[in-house]
Amino acid sequence: MTFTREKDFGTPEAMGEAVSLTIDGQEIAVPAGTSIMRAAAMVETDIPKLCATDSLESFGSCRLCLVEIEGRAGYPASCTTPVAPGMVVHTESERLRKLRRGVMELYISDHPLDCLTCSANGDCELQDQAGAVGLRDVRFGYEGENHLEGCKDESNPYFTFDPAKCIVCSRCVRACDETQGTLALTVDGRGFASKIAASQDESFLSSECVSCGACVQACPTSALIENTVIEKGTPDRSVVTTCAYCGVGCAFRAEMRGEELVRMVPWKDGKANHGHSCVKGRFAWGYAQHRDRVLNPMVRGAVDEPWREVSWEEAIAHVASEYRRIQKDYGTRAIGGITSSRCTNEETFLVQKLVRQGFGNNNVDTCARVCHSPTGYGLKTTFGTSAGTQDFDSVQYADVILVIGANPTDGHPVFASLMKRRLRQGAKLIVVDPRRIDLVRSPHIEASHHLPLRPGTNVAMLTAMAHVIVTEGLVDEAYVRERCDTEAYAEWAEFVSDPAHSPEAIEELTGVPAADVRAAARLYATGGNAAIYYGLGVTEHSQGSSTVMAIANLAMATGNVGKEGTGVNPLRGQNNVQGACDMGSFPHEFSGYRHVSDNAARAQFEQDWGVALDPEPGLRIPNMLDAATDGTFKGIFIQGEDILQSDPNTKHVAAGLAAMECVVVQDLFLNETANYAHVFLPGSTFLEKDGTFTNAERRIQRVRKVMEPRNGYGDWEVVQLVANAMGLGWTYTHPSQIMDEIARLTPTFAGVNYQMLDERGSLQWPVNAAAPGGTPMMHIDHFVRGKGNFVVTDYVPTDERTGPRFPLLLTTGRILSQYNVGAQTRRTANVNWHEEDRLEIHPHDAENRGIRDGNWVSLRSRAGETTLRALITDRVAPGVVYTTFHHPDTQANVITTDFSDWATNCPEYKVTAVQVTPSNGPSDWQQSYRAQAEQSRRIEPAEPAE
């Protein structure tokens, strides 16, 4: 299969009305603002080019693309010359051929001639253009001044920079500026000596580069090229799939060489990422081949015994029989399941079907419990649907962007680049976050207002902003009257107007000057289209749901829902956490957010599945662990989740798991939860199976199998094996059949099927008769629930209080290079950037504890103690410390408490009272944990007879 490279039109698409002109005698019409180069490419006339590529603004430096225009002197560059009505263009003539050969002769007089052994051989634009212009001789010779001695920079683990191959077209510098927005590259020097440099002409790894790969993708030669291409050679086929890391849902071309993945290149037509990527999706896919991958099922009687490798038949039969036994001994509700936010929609649907149809109860939950369950509750209560209102592209129309409790440049980097592009066009930014995240101030980006509030006071802050908007008459009265429940509004307006909710009243509590709060509120209300983006810093609180509703109130009060550039947009953490919720992973609702007590909905499932279903809500994860320690919950099926590391209060989780009799874990690696498992079923990566993910803007995108699963089965096949071993008689042969079932049973997915997804590339639900092409933006002329519902959100302080024993407040977050519990990214070269969790602490707090940067410190809360190294920074305010939970050996979650959101039990990761003291070594818990983990990971290979 020949490797088809995506066509490069040379300059970005333009939006003006049609302009007609003639190119080489052919009449065509293109939008005004289109370059002559792009117009020609649209009619298969590919004008030679090297510095032009359609992901970047035209630059006009290589001078290969010169054309002749009748009535105009000279030879203008077609990339920088927009079309004009009636223009007559000639792209070929003897004069032009001579000029192009002249330019190419200059290029090749200063370029290596080792094409046949070059890693870009066959995939190099300089090589292509030298052929296109018919270069046969370099009369200047090769002895003149040149750049052939520059030494290679191999500091970055993923790509190599070879300055000798550089033609100084600046596409990399412009990609780092326009596409990524980091501006880590520049041209160093000028004239002939010009060369590309990272930061202050240092190695890529030590520079400001965030390794997103945009420059490597933009580079026309092998000056910047992926190491995997150098090792394996150019790819021979490509498959479009979706990244399995964060909730942005970047579409990629997996470029293969036979069964071997050579590189992941962001797909230009990806609707969420438009051809951009970050270090994780672009490069950190090596974990699929990592030696830690468990490929054979394993079983053991008790968790202190070593694992025994067994056949699939034996493992599956064991699981089925154990579950039936437990239900016989302890009752139908004694077992449950946890779906994965990292697996596909089809797989999460099957796991909740296994629980509901197979186990006969609703004890199914998902990791969304610990991240955006408050979003589901809050947005459903106010708008009527548990998902964000806009698509990502809507940010391009925002005049004001409010980011609260989120760090997009680390958590959602590709969307952060799109947001930065809008900010650099002049949109205003408000950041509400205890930490000075990068967006507050980084090159060319500066927030108009940063409200560094004390962790846990979100509701007080948002209610105060509402107070300003209502009391200063900034409410969009017409919008509220027409679109919202005016009675609920009146009650809410009266509540927020109370002086007790004024910025002045809460200044002492939040630590933010009232004037700043008033200014931010006025900007949000009057600054034009205003969009709110929020993350786990909003949801992971004891008032997570109240905060989401407070956000919705602000948006409704100012008419900022239902049009481009506005909306309430949860930045959901994982690649399919939205999908996991959509598929009915919560214990209280079926797919499509319909409560299990909804008789009509339940009847539909019962009729389709041929079995009576439990109308009562099931157990949430924390409740399952409580029930386990009570002895009434004995068996669990955990697919693609590591609750021991990711869930709060690790000791409580460990106790719960230890009390169970059949813990089944399905994952790629022996994760922390597997230390307490009795059966380990090997999982498959997103490269090894078909399916769909749904990103944070409700966009359903296809995941396509590019290689056979190393463990033998796609995860959906394993769930089917278990189900059939329990007698459920499932007959799926391809995930598309599962999606047909989902569509059959879920109104918002009615129109979704693989054929439509292949045709359109992606669909944003709801997709049904009312919206056959999907719904980019929701609540356009009315809210899903009819009238927008204002909810009074009274500030109830968390019971997690600082005091003499625990004077500091710990909040948590994530970092660009690592992902969630780090299972995947820790097994890639990303450890170059973040090989251990660090405790960020303010200089004052460090000083009066005698702590210097890099020292080992003990971090204690009333829930537990761990040790890690300090990082002294004024990013955090005095009295606030911060860390990540990417590395199991820090066991950060032994610190977090069992407090959680009042409505959804989403854990209060963001507020834990702690004490920090210099330490001399790992805490007792860490030591006992490591001993247990070592002991539990022993594996005895399958008997030779197998």
């Binding site: 035209s58 630059f59 006009g60 430096s61 290589c62 001078r63 290969l64 010169l66 000279g74 030879y75 560059a77 990339c79 920088t80 010359t81 927009p82 001579k98 000029l99 002249g102 330019v103 200059l106 290029y107 007089s109 200063d110 001639l113 046969r136 001789d137 370099v138 009369r139 200047f140 010779g141 090769y142 002895e143 003149g144 001044e145 033609i167 100084v168 600046s170 520049t186 041209v187 020097g189 000028r190 004239g191 002939f192 000596a193 010009s194």
Partner: protein
């Protein structure tokens, strides 16, 4: 107490004007420091105020104070305006230069200062633009683009803010008119920019001065401070270059003011529509802006009446290089090259015959005496394969080696290239290497590479002298038609004019001893 006038222009100071001024002060005179009159062969110059008139003596030194004061000094010139070099000039823009104390506001007002601005304020913006159009004023920086049309585009483009940018990067060798005006009559430039601000609706202006002009930078900053009240609400600030000739190109200049590498931007968008910080911007040379006060004060017609063909008004021509009467000669277009070099310039300073004249700085063509009939006019010079540029004329006597000058043109381009576009970045360096081979009569041997058996296609044989000359012409063709801006695009003018008019020098027979590299 006798009042005497001594120039503090950078050239005058370099020739000892400060010492002369001190000597007269020590002798009890009241010394007024002025700009330079603009004829350097008679500097250091002093003008003594005697019964209402100013009697000039020059060149004189500190030792001549007594003889000057008693009127007996042999270098007595009398009224400077009567001196032949000045009598035949039409000083519309440089009228006050050398006459007034540059920073004295009263002096400026007493000599026609602010008349133009007052006239402009009495007119609507469109009327001011119409006046500039009617004057026929064209860009004095070198492009010769009608100034009025540029202003019209900025006026017609609405935006929340607009800017007036003065290009004072004057990097061409042989040009110093901008420097002389900024040091000698800074308020004239300020008045011109204020008028432009009023005409197009801009409230702020920048003057981008090259760092090699310390005196001009200081003069403009002081003048801006003192005249702020006169031009309010229009405000001005000076920005200093940092050693990059390419920032004389208008879009590179804008990038430089914005704090970036001085790289040339592709057009469109035109700066008049999307210029500084993306806002509509008037970018004009010092002389274009300094010509505006006269046009508003005396009327467009007075300006347009002077000139030749489509080149209306006067051009402050700078006669430089190996010339006897080097200096600033403002006259209407149409004067011939020969008149400028032989009659007004007085031939070479070395006394040897004139062999070549470069017009328009390092990117201008070289003209042999056989082309001295050419009238000073944008179109005439263009047809003759050259350009007027910033109207600098550099005279060479017969000792010049034109192959060396062609090489220097390529070397200058290589030193100053911004490095963005291929024809200029790589072409200039290859041009230097190529001319060295031509001059050394050492055409390129068959390269070690071409001789390798693996290289099958490229022409292996050694190259001939004529083939190298043809390659130089091809390179010039690629640079001229391929380059993104005039730096790479015009470097072929001096190279090809030297090759065409002085073919004998390229025989390599009499190359000038190489300068110490």
């Amino acid at each position: 107490m006798t009042r005497v006038f001594v120039s503090k222009d950078m050239a005058s100071v370099a020739l000892g004007a400060d010492g002369l001024a001190r000597a007269f002060a020590d002798a009890g005179c009241e010394v007024v420091r002025t700009g330079s009159r603009g004829l350097f062969s008679i500097e250091p110059l002093v003008e003594v105020e005697t019964d209402g008139a100013r009697i000039a003596y020059g060149p004189v030194g500190p030792g001549d104070v007594a003889a000057v004061l008693d009127g007996s000094h042999p270098a007595r010139i009398g009224a400077i305006e009567a001196h032949p070099f000045f009598a035949s000039q039409q000083r519309f823009t440089f009228a006050r230069c050398g006459v007034t104390d540059p920073l004295n506001l009263a002096d400026y007002a007493a000599n026609g200062g602010w008349k133009g601005l007052e006239a402009a304020f009495s007119l609507s913006p469109q009327e001011v633009v119409d006046a500039v159009k009617a004057s026929g004023l064209r860009g004095r920086g070198g492009a010769g683009f009608p100034t009025g049309i540029k202003w019209q585009t900025v006026l017609d483009t609405d935006a929340d803010e607009k800017f007036i940018v003065c290009n004072a990067d004057e990097g061409d060798s042989g040009t110093f008119a901008d420097r002389m005006l900024m040091e000698g009559d800074p308020y004239c430039l300020i008045e011109g920019m204020a008028i432009a601000g009023h005409a197009v609706g801009a409230t702020h202006g920048y003057i981008y001065i090259r760092s090699e002009y310390p005196f001009a930078i200081e003069a403009m900053r002081e003048a801006i401070a003192r005249s702020a009240g006169k031009v309010a609400p229009f405000t001005l600030e000076v920005r200093v270059g940092a050693g990059a000739y390419v920032c004389g190109e208008e879009t590179a200049l804008l990038d430089s003011i914005e704090g970036r590498r001085g790289q040339v931007r592709a057009k469109p968008p035109l700066p008049a529509i999307e210029g500084l910080w993306g806002k509509p911007t008037v970018i004009n040379n010092v002389l274009s802006l300094a010509a505006v006060p006269f046009i508003l004060a005396e009327g467009a017609q007075a300006y347009a009446d002077v000139g030749f063909g489509r080149s209306r008004g006067t051009m402050p021509i700078q006669i430089a290089g190996n010339v006897k009467n080097g200096g600033l000669y403002e006259v209407g277009f149409g004067v011939t090259l020969g008149e400028l070099v032989d009659e007004i310039g007085g031939g070479t300073a070395s006394g040897r015959p004139v062999r070549a004249v470069q017009v328009g700085g390092p990117l201008g063509a070289y003209f042999p005496p056989s082309m001295f009939h050419l009238p000073f006019d944008y179109e005439a010079f263009a047809q003759a394969g050259g350009l007027i540029g910033h109207a600098g004329i550099t005279v060479f006597d017969d000792s010049v080696d034109m192959a060396h000058m062609a090489r220097f043109a390529m070397e200058f381009c290589a030193v100053e290239s911004c490095g963005k576009c291929t024809p200029c970045r790589i072409g200039s360096t290859r041009g230097v290497e190529l001319i060295d081979r031509i001059v050394a009569k050492a055409p390129r041997e068959s390269g070690a590479l071409e001789a390798m058996p693996q290289i099958r296609n490229t022409k292996g044989a050694a190259r001939t002298h004529d083939e190298e000359i043809d390659l130089l012409r091809d390179l010039c063709d690629t640079m001229k038609y391929g380059s993104l801006c005039a730096l790479g695009g015009f470097t072929p003018y001096p190279v090809l004019s030297a090759l065409d008019h002085f073919r004998e020098d390229f025989g390599g027979a009499s190359a000038l001893p190489e300068a110490a590299e």
